[in-house]
Structure formats: C-alpha cells, structure tokens
Symmetry: C2
Subunit: 191 residues, 2 copies
C-alpha cells in the first residue's frame, strides 16, 4: 500500500517532508519537487493534493500553528491563577519562537496570517493563540475584580499581545543581541 503506484497518504507525507526540509534547510530550500522526491513520487504528483505550492505552504503553516497552540495550552495547564497563566503563556510564546526562529518568519512573514486559518472576515480574531490570550485575560479581569470598558479591554488585550509578540520578534533577530535568555524569558519582560 505504501510502495505501489498509489502512495496511500501522500498529502500528509508531503506536509511532513515539507516541515522536515524547512527545519533542516530553511523555507527557501523547500520546493515542490524536493518534497515530492522525499516521498518517492514524481515531480507533479503533489498537484493531485495541492492546487499550488502556496496551498502546501498553507497546510504546513496550519500544522506548525497547531503545534504552537499546543505549547501554549500546555503552559497554561499547570497555572494556579489567571495571572500565572498569562505569564506562563507569554513565556511559552517567546520560548517557542526562540527555539524555532525559522518558524516566526514562516508563520508571520510573507503571506497574510488569515490564509492558513480559514478566517472569515466577519469573525475577526479566531487566531487560536489570540483566543487563548483573550480567554485568560478575561479570567484575569474577573479574578482581580477589574472593570474595564470593552474598548479599554481591547486596547489592553492588543498591548499584551503586542509586547509578547514583539519580544518573540526581537528574540528572532539574530543580529540584535540583547543578552537575554529568550529560552527562559525573564518574567519582568512580560509583566
């Protein structure tokens, strides 16, 4: 079933091969033909499963985003309070991209973030990591008895996201050495 004319599970195999190539040699190095070759399949075989190179790329992004979201959820699991959860999430966020800087460019560079998430334009912010942030931020407001207008909440939410996302971005700039250990980010950076 795996070595006949039909591969059996080429779609997933191409995604896995793609991730492996990106991990080993960067996004630049990924070509449809190489991914196909890695699956022992002819150069045009991928077109049975993906309309485009972009469509393969989006599938890979989806896969990486899932892994990222899992990391964030794991970080939140052992948190006692919402405040602890938010900090743990921030550190996990930065740590994830610090450990895999290529993924940062891959996920946020180039294309719109919307593509690999099937966002509909009405439902604006269904980016899973952002959903998680929103959830624990609201919990944090409740636990600490803080009352904010929804507009003010929105601002605080974006600010929180921005600082963590900005940290991750900076951590991924190899040229800008900041003497911080981004793998185990200083708590003071986030709070």
């Amino acid at each position: 079933m795996a070595d006949g004319y039909h591969h059996g599970n080429l779609r997933q195999a191409l995604i896995d091969a793609g991730i492996k190539i990106i991990n080993e040699s960067g996004e630049e190095a990924l070509s449809l033909r190489k991914a196909a070759a890695a699956c022992n399949v002819s150069h045009a075989a991928p077109y049975a499963h993906f309309k485009d190179k972009d469509e393969l790329l989006e599938a890979i992004k989806k896969s990486v985003t899932d892994k990222f979201t899992e990391d964030l959820e794991d970080a939140v699991k052992n948190a006692g309070s919402a405040d602890e959860a938010l900090i743990a999430m921030g550190r996990a966020y930065i740590s994830f991209f610090s450990r895999n800087p290529d993924y940062f460019m891959f996920l946020f560079g180039k294309q719109n973030i919307s593509a690999h998430l099937q966002m509909n334009k009405e439902d604006k912010e269904d980016y899973p990591p952002f959903l998680l942030l929103r959830k624990y931020y609201k919990k944090h407001l409740k636990e600490n008895g803080i009352k904010l207008s929804s507009e003010e909440q929105e601002i605080e939410l974006i600010k929180t996201w921005a600082i963590v996302h900005g940290m991750a971005s900076i951590a991924c700039m190899k040229g800008v050495n900041t003497s911080f250990d981004w793998n185990e980010p200083d708590v003071r950076l986030i709070t």
Copy 2:
C-alpha cells in the same frame, strides 16, 4: 553615458528598480533578470555590482531602512519633551509599516537583520531605529528624574521596543482585524 555600452550608474538603478518592483508586486516578484531588464541591461549585468541576489536584496533593505529611520527622525523633530518624542516615534514606527506592510516582511522576515546593517558582533545594538529609541529613552529618564539600574533600563528599553514593534507586526497582519486605525495609532496603545 546613459545609453551606451556602459550604463553609468547601474548599481543604484538596480536598487531603485528593485524597490519599485517590490512596491508594485511584492518581494516574490523581484528577480535579478527583471531588475536588469528594467534597467535595459542584459540578464547577467547585475553580477558586476552584486555578488548575489542576496547582496542586491541587502542593498535594498539598507535603502528602505534609511527611509524608515528618516521618518522616525522627522517625527521626533517637533517634539517638545522626550516623552512626547517617544510617543511620536512609536506612532511613526507603527504608521510606517501600516502604510507599507510589505516592508515589514521584507525588513524583518527571512534574513537576519544584521546582514544589511554590517553589524559587528561586539557592538550589538547599532540598529539605527533602536539607537534613536535609546537616545530618547535616556533623555526621558533624565527629564523625569528617574533612576534605574542599567539592567533595569535594558529591560524597560526592550519592553518599549517590543510593544511598538509588536503593534507594527500586528498592524501588518491583514487577517487579524483589530478595528484600530494603525495609520494614526491610538496614543493609549503605546503609553
């Protein structure tokens, strides 16, 4: 001089043509051959001025970064206090990338930021926008009579940069609609 065998100023012409192509069709669309064609020059002519495609890309990044730095410096000019300067800078930072989202990916995606800035590894943070930030941050500390340890300063500095840079990054994510006007960023987002 401009239409003979020798172009006269091909190097700069290639940079300009490259920027134009990126502006009109995105980074993907830029090829050495197209840039060469835009300068009415054969496909291998660029190799007299750039060793690589990457070397052209770096030259273009340098050019864009210069424009970006100019914007920040302009924003700071009319500020009365350091506090005002910092806010104006933050807004200009976000506004610049909000107006040219392609540049964000172009400058910060893919390659190390270090390459197009000729950073030496000892002198870590000579990224011009960051230098500007540091300058006005120190002025802010002095004007307000705030005393911080240099370590604490470093943390605050990175946090400030991160929040603004994160905002810019978020503003460039077309999929994540946040209902803010990033062109004229809300002051509350930065402070």
